[in-house]
């Protein structure tokens, strides 16, 4: 493991993560309750508590290029468990966004899947599974991912050939608002308990 030069800490990174996630990162006292409850930690390159520690240390590169932030399933077990009431899930999501913006994505396929999913939701107001899988396969070149499941799902009438639309573009309006106004900046809680 390489030596971390503490002089290279990036305070802007800490404040950006805090600002965008609305979470006070300094509250983390490294108890590990998040790691203890995380169902995906077996696949992570860094356990959740180390992601939090590296943010505290202002290590932009290490955090934004790790795979853990992309393998996070956003199940919120960590957020429920945290004794300091840090919504760790929000922090992970913030890191995913910042990782994409900085071009440091380590798990491109996951990022593509996320994009395909959101694209499908934006177009149809809900997920259209065949369409989103087609988009995912086309962009990643993984043409055989989960294809074996298609006949089973078709037999159970779980896959449609035409998208079912939800609403009249209200969901697309949410996307449009997000693109125009950006993420809602969260106010950090004022008490430093």
């Amino acid at each position: 493991m390489k030596t971390l030069n503490l002089g290279e800490s990036d305070p802007r990174f800490i404040s950006e993560v805090e600002q965008r996630s609305g979470q006070k990162i300094s509250r983390c006292y490294q108890c590990g309750a998040c790691t203890g409850r995380c169902p995906n930690t077996f696949a992570y390159d860094l356990p959740v508590n180390r992601v939090m520690r590296l943010i505290q240390l202002g290590r932009r590169e290490e955090v934004l290029s790790c795979s853990a932030i992309w393998l996070c399933a956003a199940c919120q077990a960590c957020a429920v468990q945290c004794p300091n009431e840090i919504d760790v899930t929000r922090v992970m999501e913030t890191c995913r966004q910042m990782s994409a913006e900085a071009g440091l994505v380590s798990e491109r396929a996951i990022q593509v899947f996320v994009k395909s999913f959101l694209g499908s939701v934006k177009r149809n107001g809900r997920a259209f599974e065949p369409g989103l899988m087609a988009g995912y396969m086309f962009r990643t070149g993984r043409f055989f991912t989960d294809v074996d499941l298609a006949p089973v799902m078709l037999a159970k009438r779980k896959l449609a050939f035409k998208p079912h639309k939800a609403g009249n573009g209200e969901v697309a309006d949410i996307f449009r608002r997000y693109e125009e106004e950006g993420p809602v900046s969260c106010n950090l809680e004022s008490d430093h308990a």
């Binding site: 108890c31 309750a33 203890g36 409850r37 356990p47 508590n49 004794p83």
Partner: protein, 652 residues
């Protein structure tokens, strides 16, 4: 009046953001100010000397000091002006530190505000009258509430110092939490062996009156002259006759009563003596489980008792004790951890608290000192200890560290290895806090000599797997999720104030914090005192404490009581309410609102009027605000003085 104004720099505490010289210069032109200057440290010896000298040189008749809070140094400066021959109440303080310099950075604005506060103090001082304390005799008796180790120590020290002591204990025996412990850290000596002799001393000391199974219901009066109303709950046994032989316990047919002494790890009989070394060693009946009280039949104990001491018809008794000081030593209770669902919240029989584990370890406990699982009575092969349950957990409203859990967990881990040499012992910890004498060495011994496995991380989940329990958490040093199958899990549940502490605090007129712990007079300099004169604190009722600290504070509180009584007579604070009989219409509103019962309606010169009991009045001012006639004035804070201050502030 010739007023002197002294503006303190407090080193850089004030001078960094206020210009003391400018404040003094502004004060110089205020009405009746004869002298104004700034001082580096007004409270220090040279500062006080300068004030005394200025009083003589400029023939000052009143003094304003602009410095810190009155709570901090008002008594200091009152003594200073008294030394120079002034009445100590011809003194006012302007708080330009906590209220100005510490809270703002704008020097110019701060200086203006400081000047305003000084002007208010000067205007108040111009309307001050010299006040004189009244002297009154004291009752040289002490009431100690709570018979744990802190209360026992306080009672013994007071009694040895020549005071009569009334010791009130809620439970049927004294000894408190320490009596429940098997061994004590860091020496691992037997708890009841070192506590037992002290308990016997309490029972035998001619100056100590013990009321067990009793609670303080009301405290009235004031320092030196309190009256305590004590409810002695009926034990349904004549304790004058009971010899503690235990014949009734052996024959009682109701054997499923809750055993509070054993932390509900076992069951006991409806008539019981908490433990063999109990003081007083007298039986009492728990009517919730007694067949005589439930069905009207039975009465086996009455038949068997060789002393004929059973009294089913006995009722609670109220006794009134007159005392001069009170020492609260009500201790702690474990926090309620039923909300910790991920640890089972009490649903798993083999997930128990540290205090319950003490009873399993203790030779006088329900298992005779054999470590076994409560569920099936088998000896555990793997024991997991979890620290910081309901401690250091802001999400559950319990942010503080309970202080002693690290040490007792290490002790229990060592004892587990002693009792079951084949067992594996794991301790989940966040930080090990062992700052006492020989404490850290003890933790090292647990690891190095007893092979206790310390895992740095919090536990996230406990779930059942067959007859065992899976404990899953993190090892943050290894950077991994970890899990272990355990037979027995012991939780180091944090401490909170004893149940009912808040109610008692209100009865004693003292304040408490958000965890129910009683507030000390000053967090560093007055740890034994409260803000109510004559009421002192000892032990964990003030905050979680281990045995050495509780004993130290118990002795400290006793010293405070002895100091108080060494004077023989006490002086009251003359800053109290005063009735002008000419204006009083005897409407009685003040009598109703006074929280201390310091006001009465009396006949004087043929008419009814309110009267203040000077020794009882605390000077809170509620009656002053209530009186529709303006007939009651709080001396040293009269309506005219407050209005003068407001006018000084709102000049423009």
């Amino acid at each position: 009046m010739r007023i002197g104004v002294f503006v303190c720099h407090c080193g850089s505490n004030i001078a960094a953001t206020v210009d003391p010289a400018a404040v003094a210069m502004a004060a110089d032109s205020m009405p009746e100010v004869a002298y104004a200057t700034d001082l580096m440290y007004a409270c220090a010896e040279p500062g006080q000397k300068a004030i005394v000298e200025a009083i003589g040189e400029y023939r000052l008749t009143g003094v304003v000091v602009a410095s810190c809070s009155p709570r901090m140094h008002e008594p200091t400066f009152r003594k200073t002006v008294e030394r120079a021959g002034l009445n100590p109440y011809l003194f006012e303080m302007a708080n330009i530190r906590e209220h100005v310099s510490w809270i703002g950075k704008d020097k110019e604005a701060n200086t203006r505000k400081a000047t305003d506060l000084v002007r208010m103090a000067v205007e108040k001082l111009r309307r001050d009258a010299p006040l004189h304390s009244r002297r009154f005799p004291v009752t040289k008796r002490v009431l100690v509430i709570g018979g744990g180790i802190a209360g026992i120590q306080a009672a013994l020290d007071c009694a040895e110092g020549g005071l009569d002591v009334v010791l009130v204990e809620k439970e049927a025996t004294i000894g408190g939490k320490m009596a429940k412990l098997d061994k004590t850290f860091p020496t691992v000596d037997c708890s009841s062996c070192i506590l037992g002799p002290k308990m016997v001393d309490v029972a035998q000391h001619p100056r100590i009156t013990l009321h067990a199974l009793s609670e303080v219901e009301e405290l009235s009066g004031f320092v030196g002259n309190f009256k305590a109303k004590i409810r002695k709950k009926a034990p349904y046994v004549d304790w004058n006759l009971c010899t503690g032989c235990g014949a009734c316990l052996a024959k009682c047919p109701s054997k499923k009563a809750t055993d509070r002494f054993n932390e509900e790890t076992g069951l006991t009989t409806a008539i019981t003596i908490p433990f063999p070394q109990a003081i007083p060693k007298k039986a009492h009946i728990n009517p919730e489980f007694c067949r005589h009280f439930m069905t009207g039949k039975c009465g086996v104990c009455a038949k068997i008792c060789p002393a004929k001491a059973i009294r089913f018809e006995q009722e609670d008794e109220i006794v009134v004790e007159e005392v001069g000081a009170v020492i609260a030593a009500t201790g702690y209770d474990l926090a309620d951890w039923s909300g910790y669902d991920y640890l089972g919240g009490g649903r798993f029989p083999d997930v128990i608290t540290g205090l319950q584990y003490e009873r399993l370890l203790s030779a006088s406990g329900p298992t005779g000192g054999h470590v076994v699982r409560p569920s099936d009575g088998r000896e555990p092969k793997t024991v997991v200890f979890i620290q910081c349950v309901a401690s250091r957990d802001p999400s559950k409203g319990r942010p503080s560290c309970s202080g002693f859990c690290c040490m007792y967990t290490a002790k229990q881990a060592v004892l587990t290895r002693d009792h079951c040499p084949d067992s594996k012992v794991h301790v989940f910890y966040m930080d090990v806090r062992a700052p006492g004498k020989m404490y850290d060495e003890f933790i090292r011994r647990a690891v190095d000599e007893y092979g206790v496995d310390y895992i740095r991380g919090r536990v996230s989940q406990i779930f059942r797997k067959g007859e065992r329990y899976v404990v899953r958490g993190a090892d943050t040093l290894a950077g991994a999720q970890v899990e272990v199958e355990a037979d027995l899990v012991v939780l180091a549940v944090g401490a909170q104030a004893a149940h009912g502490a808040e109610k008692l605090a209100e009865r004693l007129h003292i304040s408490y914090d958000d965890q129910g712990f009683f507030m000390e007079g000053h967090p560093k300099l007055r740890p034994m005192e409260t803000n109510t004169a004559g009421v002192f604190l000892a032990g964990a009722c003030q905050g979680p404490k281990d045995i050495p600290s509780s004993v130290a504070q118990g002795s400290g509180a006793a010293a405070k009581a002895l100091c108080l009584f060494a004077k023989g007579v006490l002086e009251n604070d003359p800053q109290i309410a005063n009735v002008r009989p000419g204006r009083c219409v005897a409407c009685g509103k003040c009598v109703k609102t006074c929280p201390f019962g310091a006001l009465n309606i009396v006949e004087a010169r043929g008419r009814r009027t309110a009267e203040v009991v000077e020794t009882v009045c605390k000077g809170c001012g509620i009656c002053t605000a209530t009186c529709p006639q303006g007939a009651i004035q709080l001396q040293h804070s009269t309506d005219n003085q407050i209005l003068a201050e407001v006018n000084a502030l709102c000049r423009f």
